[in-house]
Amino acid sequence: MGTSATSVDAQRLEFLTGGGPITLEISEAPPGGEPVDATDAGTRIFWDANLGVPAKLVVSTMATSQHFRLFVELQVTSYGTGSMVDMHPEVELVDGMFDEDILTNILPGSRSQQGTGLLRYRASARVADGNSQTHGDDTHTVTYTLLAQ
């Protein structure tokens, strides 16, 4: 399982399914075309903002010697009553990046501050990027943080 911080003042952010290490393997390309992206959608998370103010979910990553591209998108699968949160387009995960929003406007309230979502990862590489036999794998520590907006 991935790392889960102990809840502080009843905020919660945890894995519902998956959360352990995953590997996205790019192994195919059509002749004459670029390699086909690899995807993974096996990780679900749960959040309970409980901050009393609008909250958001941000993502960042650390990866030494990154050669290939990695993206993540959060697809909300369930949400408490109240107005919908704002989902964000796919975020590219780049080593050393600043936090980027993947979910915003998690409004306070006993039901609206909670939700679940599916983390959809997408790995992409071009022929010019080479392969893992030359460069090694890219290993990311992807961190999601729930905080006040």
């Binding site: 600043f98 290993t139 729930l146």
Partner: protein
């Protein structure tokens, strides 16, 4: 790299400590110069009570070595002409193409026949090399021969395949069925 949210927390703590220190200085009449540090500026945004929770997951991206090649359709080479007094004229066919994807280095393309043509018949081939590679026209046989070398990090389509068919005078007419052979191209490490 310092996490920005954590920096805000550290900055707030340092500011609070410095403020407390300044208060002590003011109360005790101590010279500020006795203290080594000046208080940092107040952070722009303050997370409420520093409440945030984080979750981490290890995600590995692995790219396997990929070598793919595709060849266009079957080829017919009609040998039907000669100048009087000279052997049969060779015929060149340039309508075939190939496509390839290579995400590694120093690959080559070799070519071969499934079985030899009858005596007196000869098929040679020359491939248009992708950028950076080199090609050689070779006579095809059941033994693989190098056709293109030095293929690196490339995805290319519509690269030409030029065949030249030759039959000497001793080869009897084949009829419309002709004589067929399977030409195989293999993309592999050098």
């Amino acid at each position: 790299m310092v996490h920005p949210q954590r920096y805000k927390t550290v900055g707030l703590a340092a500011w609070a400590l410095s403020l407390f220190s300044a208060c002590v200085v003011a109360l005790l009449g101590l010279s500020p110069s006795a203290w080594a540090q000046t208080p940092p500026p107040l952070p722009d945004a303050i997370p409420l009570a520093g409440n945030q929770v984080s979750l981490s997951q290890t995600v590995t991206v692995r790219v396997l070595e990929i070598n793919r090649i595709a060849i266009s359709g079957d080829v017919l080479i009609p040998i039907a002409e000669a100048e009087a007094g000279t052997p049969l004229s060779p015929v060149t066919h340039s309508g075939s193409t190939y496509a390839l994807t290579v995400n590694g280095s120093d690959k080559k393309i070799v070519g071969s026949l499934d079985t030899e043509f009858p005596a007196g018949m000869e098929l040679s081939v020359e491939l248009t090399p992708p950028p950076g590679a080199t090609a050689t026209r070779r006579i095809l046989s059941s033994d693989p021969v190098d056709l293109v070398k030095g293929v690196n990090l490339i995805a290319a389509t519509n690269l030409g395949i030029t065949y030249t068919g030759h039959a000497d005078i001793t080869v009897a007419p084949t009829g419309t069925a002709g004589i067929s052979r399977r030409v195989t191209f293999t993309l592999t490490s050098n």
